[in-house]
């Protein structure tokens, strides 16, 4: 009798653990979830997205209507205050058109394509896994779709960099948050409505030039090696001797500006981009916006400004003008700038 009672007690005491074990979802490997999110989604989709850009405690919100189909086709409509599209970004897979309704102007060029980069998608993914830790957990659904929540933290310092809510079935990023070096939320994107479709009509991905619209041809981005800079731009390239941990040179591009050329150096840590622009002598950097201010950057006078892409630092050295932009702290930006020679 005593032994039966003991067995019953043991069974009862173990039952909650067994139930908990049954209930706990089996978590996938975080890197597998991330890798799957980089694959093209095997269905067309259509939805509505909210994009928040934070500046301290203030946020501006944009509403977008998104349609994506196979073959790199997409249509993004940025809605104005009146609910009508104020800007369109349309691609038929080969050409991308950006249309600004207020200016009745079209910028025509090629869509961004990672396959021409010097660091291929696999190399970049390796860089990402070298520099970041990924942690996965189950999340509440986003726009009605079950999601995994993946957090990316830098290996150096454990700083939270990204939060991504990834569709469990389709691998689509349903929501993402990007953080600044000081831990503040910089931007957030979230699908509020989302519907997958097996096929999509061609029409939304065709762009018809509106009557009277001015068309501007955008220069195609190039991905050159460092030693091609001088022959391509006629400028002696000035590069930083110091970069924050994890960043490597990826490629450079030459931006034509009238008869002059500007060098665009890109550095990557697998997640973030650091851009350095080297302009020829006698160029004036036009900051336009009113948030630019003059500072003593430690190595000399510089102009700094806040942008959703990160901080911007502009300075002059040996007759050339430089501009640095990336999600770095002001101290890191100044250190990179100082090391440019």
């Amino acid at each position: 009798m005593a032994s039966r009672l003991l067995a019953l007690l043991l069974l009862l005491s173990c039952a909650p653990f067994a139930a908990a074990k049954r209930r706990a979802p089996k978590l996938p490997d975080a890197w597998d979830v991330l890798r799957e999110s980089l694959e093209p989604v095997d269905a067309s989709y259509q939805g509505e997205v909210l994009v928040d850009v934070y500046k301290g405690q203030l946020a501006t919100t944009r509403e977008m209507s998104v349609r994506v189909a196979d073959g790199g086709r997409y249509r993004r409509e940025i809605l104005g205050e009146d609910g009508r599209p104020s800007q369109l970004i349309v691609s038929d897979g080969k050409t991308e058109w950006i249309y600004d309704r207020a200016r009745n102007k079209v910028w025509e060029g090629e869509p961004a394509d990672p396959y021409y980069k010097r660091l291929g998608p696999d190399d970049e993914f390796d860089l990402l896994s070298e520099n970041y830790d990924a942690l996965v957990s189950s999340s509440t659904p986003v726009a009605g779709h079950a999601a995994w929540l993946v957090e990316l933290r830098s290996k150096e310092g454990g700083r939270l960099e990204r939060r991504l809510w990834i569709d469990k079935r389709k691998g689509l990023v349903l929501q993402s948050q990007m953080f600044l070096p000081d831990g503040q939320l910089a931007t957030e994107m979230k699908f509020t409505k989302l519907e997958y479709r097996k096929s999509s009509a061609k029409t939304p991905f065709m762009f018809k030039i509106p009557p009277g619209a001015k068309i501007v041809k955008r220069t195609e981005p190039d991905f050159m090696a460092l030693d091609e800079a001088k022959s391509a731009a006629g400028l002696e390239p000035k590069t930083p001797a110091w970069l924050p941990s994890g960043y490597v040179f990826e490629s450079l591009d030459v931006l034509p500006r009238g008869g002059r050329k500007i060098l665009h150096f890109r550095f990557s840590d697998g997640v973030n981009v650091l851009s350095l622009f080297q302009c020829p002598p006698h160029v004036t950097l036009d900051f336009g916006g009113e948030n630019a201010k003059q500072i003593d950057a430690g190595f000399g006078r510089a102009t700094t400004a806040w942008t959703p892409e990160g901080r911007v630092l502009g300075w002059s050295k040996a007759g050339s003008k430089f501009l640095l932009v990336g999600p770095l702290s002001p101290e890191q930006l100044a250190r990179v700038a100082e090391s440019v020679r």
Binding site: L38, R76, I89, D253, G259, P308
Partner: protein
């Protein structure tokens, strides 16, 4: 208004050159002042008589002489002006200054690089990154492209 004050504008009134305000003042005054009304009638009468007399035509020979003299003076005045060293240097300096302003304006327009344009290039590149927050970047790209262009892309 006193008579001595109104007298100052009577002549203009008689010539039809008084302003609307002056006309009202004169009309109001002469309605009550016989003396000024008389002066006005006299002035108007004299001016009308002079107009009736007309201007006697100048003799044809005198006209021709005057025209020749005037033409000669014009010819002499302009070459003389341009041959003055001070005037020549002044004009040359003004031309050089104007040219410099034009050159500087053209150069300034050409050498202004829009930071928005550079940020558009940065955003376009960021779109090629794995795990890029593409919807946020696309929203930024459209804005940057339009703003960069507005700043003289």
């Amino acid at each position: 208004m006193r008579c001595d004050q109104i007298e100052e504008v009577l002549s203009a009134f008689a010539d039809g050159e008084a302003s609307a305000g002056e006309r009202r003042l004169v009309a109001g005054h002469v309605a009550d002042c016989r003396e000024c009304a008389r002066k006005l009638r006299l002035m108007s009468g004299m001016k009308a008589s002079v107009k009736k007399l007309g201007v006697p035509p100048a003799p044809a020979e005198l006209k021709a002489r005057l025209r020749r003299a005037a033409a000669g003076r014009r010819k002499a005045a302009w070459p003389g002006l341009f041959t003055l060293p001070a005037v020549r240097w002044g004009l040359a300096s003004a031309f050089a200054a104007a040219s410099l302003i034009v050159i500087l304006r053209v150069r300034n327009a050409d050498d202004n690089v829009s930071v928005e344009l550079l940020l558009a290039a940065h955003t376009q590149y960021a779109l090629t990154m794995p795990l890029s927050p593409s919807e946020s970047l696309y929203a930024g790209l459209a804005e940057r492209t339009a703003e960069g262009d507005a700043h003289g892309l």
